[in-house]
């Protein structure tokens, strides 16, 4: 059924259709609307049997999800930003224990300085934790990926993070096609756990493992993620059969077949990139896009195949490995069969900085004319940076950077973009 709703409302409805039995969360922007909507459904008795657990922190949220999942319940939570960092220890545990929890991460920057706006730093900080990480391009895909996530998680006995851009998707009203309960039920069978805490058949979960077997347990985690690389496309195909639309999968190519330059990105910025690429195609430039839907496991073969004919690759990412450069860029480089200096990283949209077609035209144009630096910060206000550096050069007690830079900038409340 077609609906015009907020992204958070769409995801909440999709989660409800997945029949979760335990939902626990601690509120943090921009994921709050999702769990609020689910809380109302549980409260109204529309979602039974399901328990909504209010917890005192994100650490507790993930701990409750772990406990619930270990007893055989389908468990869901959501978080963002510092909330994800606060639960990090339990996030690793959920993966290590092989518990199929599904979590929405409404992607948001990480402080300090505090910033509530969108980028991918939060999810990417947990890229090595053992969870699958899927990135949604729009709200339709966000809701679809949640349905696929439960299926994937339970089949593999691994937790899945569905990443959707905070505010840009969570707070955007757009058209979605909401599936029926019957469709979801036919795609997602009841949860049949591989391990369960059952008083009638007691086991312990979470044993200490020493040097004699820890390596093997970790290897199995890696092997399972490799297995996911085969299952994800298969279940995306099945999703298409049941729901009648393509969604999910490992990567998605757009106008790449004859492209000299291919832009690689994750998440909702792919829409703006595709519009820009269409405009550049109209001008005769051979440029295409590779969207990464599945970031973990890293779809190395799919990325290599998609990029094999490209002369240049531009990785546009909303994250920064401070002291190194691009995180996605580094992953792409490892999968690119061409020369590594032909992979360019563009750091963009940190902390909610708008990524506009105008700026994308400029940077993609540089790639087409071989004048793009290996690492670029899109729309960086260099003069603002230089003022801070100069202040620090001349003055020992130069003060806090964030406050100083805001003072230099003046009032920004009036800015539209």
């Amino acid at each position: 059924m077609l609906k015009q709703v907020e992204g958070s409302a769409a995801v909440a409805e999709a989660i409800a259709l997945c029949r979760p039995q335990v939902i626990c969360a601690y509120p943090i922007s921009p994921q709050t609307h999702i769990v609020e909507a689910l809380g109302r459904r549980v409260d109204a008795g529309e979602l039974t049997p399901c328990e909504f657990v209010n917890v005192e922190s994100e650490f507790a949220a993930m701990s409750v999800a772990i406990g619930a999942s270990a007893t055989g319940a389908r468990a869901y939570t959501a978080t963002a930003s510092q909330g994800l960092l606060f639960m990090a220890e339990a996030v690793y545990n959920a993966a290590g224990l092989g518990l199929p929890i599904v979590m929405t991460v409404a992607n948001r920057a990480i402080g300090a300085p505090i910033n509530i706006w969108n980028d991918h730093t939060d999810a990417l900080s947990q890229r090595d934790c053992g969870w699958l990480q899927l990135f949604a391009e729009d709200n339709q895909e966000a809701l679809d990926l949640h349905i696929q996530a439960f299926r994937l998680a339970e089949e593999l006995s691994l937790p899945v993070m569905v990443c959707m851009d905070g505010f840009i998707l969570t707070h955007a009203y757009e058209r979605v096609d909401m599936p029926t309960q019957a469709q979801v039920d036919s795609y997602l069978p009841p949860y049949e756990p591989r391990q369960v805490l059952d008083p009638a058949d007691p086991v312990s979960i979470g044993a200490m493992v020493g040097p004699e077997a820890f390596m093997e347990v970790r290897y199995l985690a890696h092997a399972k993620q490799q297995q996911a690389l085969e299952l994800i496309p298969a279940w995306a195909d099945e999703f298409r059969r049941v729901f009648g639309r393509p969604s999910g999968g490992l990567v998605r190519e757009y106008r790449t077949s004859d492209a000299d330059v291919i832009v690689v990105a994750l998440g909702s910025v792919l829409g703006t990139i595709k519009d820009t690429v269409d405009e550049m195609r109209d001008q005769g430039h051979k440029i295409g896009v590779l969207g990464i839907t599945c970031f973990r496991p890293w779809p190395s073969v799919a990325v290599r195949n998609a990029l094999q004919r490209a002369q240049r690759v531009v990785v546009l990412e909303q994250s920064l490995a401070v002291g190194m450069g691009g995180i996605v860029g580094n992953n792409v480089s490892a999968s690119f069969s061409g020369s590594p200096e032909r992979v360019h990283t563009v750091i963009a949209g940190l902390g909610g900085r708008s990524i506009t077609r105008g700026s994308l035209h400029r940077v993609f144009g540089q790639a087409l004319t071989d004048s793009l630096e290996p690492l670029t910060f899109l729309d960086l206000d260099r003069a603002l940076v230089d003022r801070v550096l100069e202040r620090e050069r001349v003055q020992r007690r130069s003060g806090p950077i964030a406050e100083g830079i805001l003072k230099d900038l003046g009032v920004v409340a009036a800015k539209i973009g």
Partner: protein, 197 residues
């Protein structure tokens, strides 16, 4: 694609206005997208919300920098925020005020635009009459429907009915309808003036 930018202050229903407009367009089988400017939402602080309407799926996520229409919910923003920034020469402007463009000191500015695309409407006063609170958003959407013809008053009313409980919805629909009729009368006056002039 038709792009609308709505300026107002925190507490005036700016974000809701963009959402309602997107629902109204959806009800006419159009694709639409509404999103706020995600500031730290404080009552009284300048707020911007955006709405795009198109016949095909909308992929673009950048803020609306070159709008086809502007709805200004609070005329005190005129001298604080660059509300007119990027407006297309044939763009529409709807301002919530009982005053005229001339009264607002915008006579010279207005000459750069199509006269029939500019209008003011006392949306807050209309809202006070029908809703009992200074929430001009629904009235302005009624005015927008009349000024631009991009959505019908019926779709705006249906969107309001979808969003609010019946009693609140009824007041807002009445406000939207009065503003719609007000703007229609203003446009007729403008057209008559243009013909005479």
């Amino acid at each position: 694609m038709f792009q609308i930018r709505i300026h107002g202050r925190g507490g005036q229903g700016v974000v809701t206005a963009a959402e309602l407009l997107s629902v109204a367009a959806f009800r006419e089988d159009r694709h639409s997208q509404a999103f706020p400017s995600f500031g730290s939402e404080r009552t009284g602080a300048p707020v911007v919300a955006f709405c795009r309407i198109d016949d095909r799926p909308i992929r673009l996520r950048e803020p609306i920098l070159a709008p086809d229409a502007l709805i200004i919910q609070d005329p005190t923003l005129l001298h604080q925020v660059d509300v007119f920034g990027g407006l297309r020469p044939d763009g529409y402007i709807l301002i919530n005020t009982a005053r005229t463009f001339e009264d607002l000191g915008l006579a010279e500015f207005a000459q750069k635009f199509t006269a029939a695309h500019l209008c003011t409407v006392p949306a807050t006063e209309i809202a006070m009459r029908h809703v009992g609170r200074p929430l001009p958003n629904a009235s302005l959407l009624g005015g927008f429907a009349a000024l631009t013809g991009r959505v019908s008053l019926e779709s705006v009313a249906a969107a309001i009915g979808e969003k609010f409980p019946p009693k609140v919805a009824a007041g807002n629909v009445a406000a939207a309808t009065e503003a719609y009729e007000f703007v229609q009368r203003e446009m007729k006056k403008e057209a008559a003036g243009a013909e005479a002039g």
